[in-house]
């Protein structure tokens, strides 16, 4: 079961962006940063480090690189630095970024 969010939503904006967050379809206000939506959606963590430690957003201003997630297949995306978009697919990042190997080469 996912833990409750650690935040209260005080300003109710219109919710008009639909996207997939950790396998679940969520609706959130346009103009929000992805990290803010993850934090207000639940108390879930953002990623796992190489050693398996759990991490969540920390600085919210692009400095600490703790809020990394995979967005539309792009790993190591700083979720505090991007705004949510319709049909975005966000996955939890486990371990370090994986390098894709092209089989054609």
């Amino acid at each position: 079961m996912k833990p409750d969010s650690k935040f209260d939503t005080l300003v109710k904006n219109t919710k008009d962006v639909n996207f997939t967050l950790f396998g679940e379809v969520v609706t959130a206000p346009k103009g929000s940063t992805l990290a803010a939506v993850i934090l207000s959606h639940s108390g879930d963590t953002f990623r796992q480090t190489e050693t398996g430690a759990l991490r969540s957003a920390f600085c919210m201003m692009g400095v600490c690189f703790e809020c990394l997630v995979e967005v539309n297949g792009n790993q190591n995306t700083q979720s505090c630095m991007i705004l949510i978009e319709d049909k975005m697919v966000v996955k939890r990042q486990v371990g370090l970024r994986q390098i894709e190997i092209c089989e054609n080469d």
Binding site: D8, L10, G43, T49
Partner: protein, 458 residues
Amino acid sequence: MTDYDIIIIGAGPAGMSAASVAANGGLDVLLLDEQPDAGGQVYRNIKQNETEKNWFGNDYSSGKHLVNAINCNKITKYFNATVWRVEKNKRVIWSHNGESKISAASHIVLATGAQERPFPFPGWTLPGVMTVGSAQILMKSSGIFPKEAVLVGSGPLLYLVATQMIDANCPPKALLETQTLRMMMNSLIHLPKALLNMKSLIKGFMFIQKIKSAGVPRYKSVSRLKAQSSENGSIKFLFLHKGIRRSLTTKLLLIHQGVIPSTEISRSIGVDHSWNKSQLAFQPIIDKWGKTNIDGIYIAGDCAGINGSNAAVLYGKKVATKILYETGKVSFYFYTKQSLCIRTRLFFTNSVRLFLDTIFAVPQEILLPSDETIVCRCEEKTVGEVKLGLNEGICGVRQLKTSIRSGMGLCQGRMCDATIRSIMLHNTSQDDKTILAPKARSPLKPITLGEMSKIKKD
């Protein structure tokens, strides 16, 4: 070839004021910021919050005129624009929507502001531990407020955010201050000068009164901080208070230990830096006009030493006035009159600084955390590992990076440089003078090789 007269990096108080003064004087300005909109962290999201209920106070609202002033056709603005390289020949390479561009100018103003000082203690990497600044960013930009958070640390922002949380009816569960009686005693000598900025002192006093009257429990002079994860993702926070070991359980632990200048860009171009003893941070060496040792590179605001947002606005104006004069856009009379007025106001604004630096001094256990504490969050390296390396003869940040990988992660040392410096200071024979500012190199933010290879030349 130059595309603009000035490129300003950072659209916070310093960058916005520099941009509007320069544009009004007739210069073409390129203003770049990596956040979604103008305002910096201080006036973050101010455009959107205009009509909302005002939890953030009058200081925040005062940022509106700065944001309005940059709406002029002489200023080309890009947000979500990440500068990843600045060259001595005044070329700036920046990434926007997955594409990198090169822009050139005859003058560059760095107004990159500050970041929160790393606040390491055992457990500071746990989910559920965030910075006080991050909570304020969420409040301003997303309208989400911390639930029953415990605030711990030191510095003006700690009190400001606590009062904003009280006003928004989400008061902190407790306020834990690392400030000691000794720090307060040490600051008394700077109090007479600080009285010249009475407004700031009164503001601080009002914050504390509000926290007291809201009945938020305060624990002063806390030490031996430690966070552990508890059930349901909560944090069990242990600390020493008046000789008694106490613990508080909270969903969200918000930590703050002041702010330090963001100097990645200035360090990467080769601007000289010096150690600020009272602020315990490296800062670029600039003259009274904001000029650096590199021709055409200017610095304004908190990235040149912490003085706060009011001072940053004035520094931005000062730098822009200097550039206007140098490019022949204003007369010597205007320039002298303007700069005298700015410098007088800066004298009064900054008179409170030494007092604040001393009263909110960084506690020793943050400068030298216990061996089990993670110092480098990205590479998950502990203080003990760094010390062991130093004892085995590693000298300097560079050798530490290559041998134990501390400071080699994605944040490029932003979250550990400050702590590693103080560990080096206490565990080697090096002193304040011999430990130099660590090198910073481009790309200053991670960028894909694919994007780099597609840069179009002008």
